[in-house]
């Protein structure tokens, strides 16, 4: 099976999963008590009025018709209008998406950038201070709820020493570049600096759990890989230890680490939701929570669909990297 065919197969499976996500969101609507009409109709609406609203929302058709309409609309990107604000759901969600992506990408970069070296060092310098430090940090890291970590960071770095803002978001990463483009580098740099000031605490909060998790994975992965018999055979042919450690062991360690990255993406997005609410970061997370509290169904539905689809796309990327590193996966 060639590499391209493997990706094509994963892509098709991805589409099936997206279809699954969309269907579950549809089903969610029907297993929740109360119904859409209450959310829209005024409390004292007469039965006829409620009737008309239901018809308008298409709720009187048989289930499968509603499902097909729902799918058809979705394909055209039309996810209905917010019950509360009346804004088109898709535009609202897509306007909030960049903030969440920024946060997720920033924290992932921190996590991967820090944890791989940490994991390797603590695996290769066992029972030395570096190992104990990395193990302790990673143990505390995965045991700390990220909202509490966020609050503590705010307490220390914003309230006490005022280095960072306590919440909110200045410019988007992309906006900073646009400003730099049309208002000159100075303004751009300043916009970028502001962006950095606002995103640091949330990114660190969200990234910590992940850094700790991947450090632990890399460490145990490296230890296991160094115990493999091919390492001993490679040593027997006189290869230097550094080459064995990085070219051979680390490369094979990255394979399971990347698989777990794919699996733990859900945790990352889940973490983003909380981090956004702690720092009131204007991303999908806050939108989601508001939509649930106000039972604003179209927005909730749009958010869930976007999160689910985003998850599948990112997983596809992870699969591509994984298959590149491990030739046996493509062969199976």
């Amino acid at each position: 099976m060639s590499y391209g065919r493997f990706l094509l197969k994963r892509g098709l499976q991805g589409i099936v999963v997206v279809w699954g996500v969309v269907s579950i969101v549809f089903v969610l609507r029907f297993i929740t008590p109360g119904n859409a009409v209450d959310a829209v109709a005024p409390l004292d609406a007469s039965p006829e009025l409620r009737e008309r609203i239901a018809a308008e929302l298409g709720l009187d058709q048989p289930l499968y018709v509603q499902y097909l309409d729902y799918l058809w609309e979705l394909l055209q990107g039309d996810m209905g209008y917010s019950y509360i604000s009346g804004i088109e759901a898709s535009s609202m969600v897509f306007s909030k998406l960049p903030a969440t992506i920024e946060l997720a990408v920033a924290s992932s970069i921190i996590a991967i950038g820090l944890s791989i070296p940490l994991g390797v060092i603590s695996a290769t310098r066992r029972h030395e201070p570096a190992d104990y430090a990395a193990t302790t940090f990673s143990l505390v890291g995965i045991s700390t709820p990220n909202f509490w970590l966020g609050i503590m960071l705010i307490l220390l770095l914003s309230v006490q020493f005022g280095i960072f803002p306590t919440s909110g978001r200045a410019f988007g990463f992309v906006e900073a570049f646009r400003i730099a483009a049309n208002q000159g580098v100075g303004a751009g740099a300043d916009a970028f600096y502001q962006w950095l000031r606002f995103i640091t605490l949330p990114a660190v909060t969200l990234g910590t759990y992940f850094t700790a998790l991947i450090t632990r994975l890399t460490r145990s992965g490296m230890l296991e890989e160094l115990g493999q018999s091919y390492v001993r055979a490679t040593r027997a042919k006189g290869l230097p230890e550094s080459l064995i450690r990085y070219k051979h062991a680390l490369r094979n360690t990255l394979i399971p680490v990347i698989t777990v990255l794919g699996l733990q993406l859900g945790t990352l997005i889940g973490g983003a939701v909380i981090t956004e609410s702690v720092f009131s970061w204007p991303g999908l997370g806050t939108t989601l929570i508001n939509a649930i509290n106000t039972r604003d169904w179209p927005i909730l539905q749009a958010t869930l669909v976007v999160i689910g689809t985003g998850f599948v796309i990112v997983n596809l990327v992870v699969d591509a990297v994984y298959a590149y590193l491990d030739p046996q996966v493509v062969a199976e």
Binding site: M1, R5, L8, K9, L12, Q13
Partner: protein, 508 residues
Amino acid sequence: MTETAPERESAGDDALVEVRNLRKYYQDGGGLLDRVLGREATSVKAVDGVSFDVREGETLGLVGESGCGKSTTGETLLRLREATDGTVAFDGENVFDLDDESMSSFRRRAQIVFQDPFSSLDPRMTVGAIVAEGMRIHGLPESDPTVATAAELTVGDGIDRTVEVSVAEDLDRVVDGDDGVARVSVTVRKDEGADDETPYEASVDGYGDLLGATVEDRDTDLHVEVTVTGSANAIRKKRAGDLLERVGLSADQVDRYPHEFSGGQRQRVGIARALALDPEFIVLDEPVSALDVSVQAQVLNLLDELQDEFGLTYLFIAHDLSVVRHICDRVAVMYLGRVAELGPTDEIFENPDHPYTEALLESVPRAEVAEQGRRVATLAGDVPSPRNPPSGCRFRTRCPKVIPPDDIEIEQAAFRAVMNLREEIEAENLDPDEVRAADPAAYRKEEVPGIAGENAGVVDEALEAVADGDFDTAAETLRDRFETVCETTPPDDSPGGDGTVVACHLHD
């Protein structure tokens, strides 16, 4: 040569197991998505039309290198895997279409012992539970109405009345009956010291608390009643203990776990488990391959003793030919999912007919000093993939005696080289530029020495086609001249009158 062998071989050896045209294909990549991607499902033809008989009381060897399908045959035979095609008759009935009830009785009559001491015993069960599992599944030991029960009575001194003893019907659940009678010895004594009104007591020797004896004082005589008091579990545990003793372990290890035993001891537990249901036929799937030589010998001797004692029939699957020579009465040599040769052991080992058997025997290093100088003509190449086995005779790609067409004169070595070249061309492994650079004739001299005249001319012509990148014409030209019966028609591998097989055109 009829397709299916006559039912009855020569008088007296009626076949217990008759395998006819057994096939087992493994589908892979047949998933929905694969079809969508246009990748048709390829199947691995692990067993591709195998027929043989296993006669009552004999040990039939099933030999071959890895990938030849011998283990798959053994497992499919016992329906541990679903067969793709073919029939297996056990004592006359086709195993593949037994209903549940007769399937359960088949399970009791046919058992299996596996190869890997570490994977064949459930690490979380005690050795006693492992051996007794079969009995628990089939609700054994049940009482067999045809077995009579009897008791030898020894009366202690001081008892003046006649003593009469009766034994429970299901005594044979505890006591093994030999030739139809389960016998137990009971002693009755008068207990001087006892002051209660029935001074007499009776006890059964042996069998711990599984059997109880009660004395009833009917003023004219004493009536002793022997009953089975042990629970079914207790009885099974004792029987498991007996089985462990029988295979050379000790009964008090019944509560130990597999990890406390060595490789050889674990294989003995596997054998005890197979014996628990008192089977007639056992498939031994490489039972000693994972053992060291000294332990191997112990287990082989044990298998011999058990065969004589219980009249067992073995299908002995192995890749170690010297072990097969030692223990098997007849041997079937398998290659790439088919039987290459089948016959009495000494006949096969002393003068093998099939070239593969010959090469196999040649390759085995003998544990003797003379082995040092022995010139061994080894087989070239690797076993082809069972996904698309070679056409005609499957051994033709490696056979040192491939049959040239009648109308041409060619040495065997040269013909073998031509056949190898043909395979390279058909697999399009040759590099056209390399052939063009080296000029076809020179390339031919180097690749296929020892041919001349017209043969050489045809090969050069083919190599020219290769040089132009046209592999099909090259293959075509070579096939016209050098096509051999080995590649066109598969040799006949159905058992002959005396049950022997030589699947090779040299012996048609």
